[in-house]
């Protein structure tokens, strides 16, 4: 398992480790099953096209889950995710990679917790930020 991240290890402006995803249409079926979101635009080509879409598209919430993973991968088992904000600004299709990225915006202590706020996003293979968001986590300290 990855080393635990501590509050002292974090500096404002630092980049989070990048999370790469390679969604397939099969993954969209798996996600539909696991989440209960069976909206056909995610796995039925004809249905998607009849709804004005270019192709089957990724569930927004699947992209949101990847931003969640970006954070939980980074903070380790002793960190806690407190807030996760995700916006689905662009349509993304399976068969092309997506990259979860983040930057530390602010580091502060409040009500006895040591908190870090990050700007996070998913980029498509052309570098377009289709899924912007933010997160707040609490981290343990070394002492």
């Amino acid at each position: 398992m990855a080393e635990q991240l501590y509050f002292e290890d974090v500096t404002e402006g630092m980049a989070l480790p990048v999370l790469e995803k390679n969604p397939t249409s099969q993954q969209l079926v798996k996600y539909a099953g696991a989440s209960g979101d069976y909206y056909q635009i995610h796995y039925d080509q004809n249905y998607a096209k009849n709804n004005g879409l270019p192709d089957i598209i990724l569930h927004g919430a699947l992209k949101g889950s990847w931003l969640g993973q970006l954070m939980t991968d980074w903070i380790g088992e002793e960190g806690h995710l407190k807030k996760l904000v995700t916006q689905y600004r662009g349509m993304d299709v399976p068969g092309t990679p997506m990259y979860g990225k983040g930057v530390v915006k602010r580091k502060y202590s409040e009500d006895g917790e040591d908190l870090v706020e990050c700007d996070i996003w998913l980029e498509d293979h052309e570098g377009k930020k289709t899924t912007p968001g933010s997160a707040i986590v609490s981290l343990p300290t070394k002492n």
Partner: protein, 153 residues
Amino acid sequence: MTGESVISDDMRAVVGVESDPITYEVEKGAIVKFAQAIGDNNPIFNNEEAARDSAYGGIIAPPTFMRSLISNPVPDFNNPYNAVVDGGSEWEYYEPVRPGDRITVRTKIADLFERPGRLGNMLFTIRETSYTNQFEKIVALQRTTGISYEPPE
């Protein structure tokens, strides 16, 4: 823009009305299936032995797992549009969710407004959903934006 609002009085009357609560028992298999579906191999979401040695003492659900705990519908809300797109979510997390937890889900429409957009008139539905465990503690809150429109012919 025709200038006519698609938001009827009946629709406005539903803002703030809570759905009938629904309670789910969280299953370990469902947690692992969800983690695998999103492609997250973190042992705390997948492996009981590894998770037992962790700070959590056992498997916990990934943060967006609660998407799979679907609320009852908001009563009497009739969307005039046929296509709906998920505009985004804001989650606040308070407690971990573990196998065996009984999570009660309640939702309500917090706001309703419309805007012209690329797809024509767009209806925005802001929902607030709460997730409460068997100890009556709120484990999470989710605020979601749904964007509805009439699909093109």
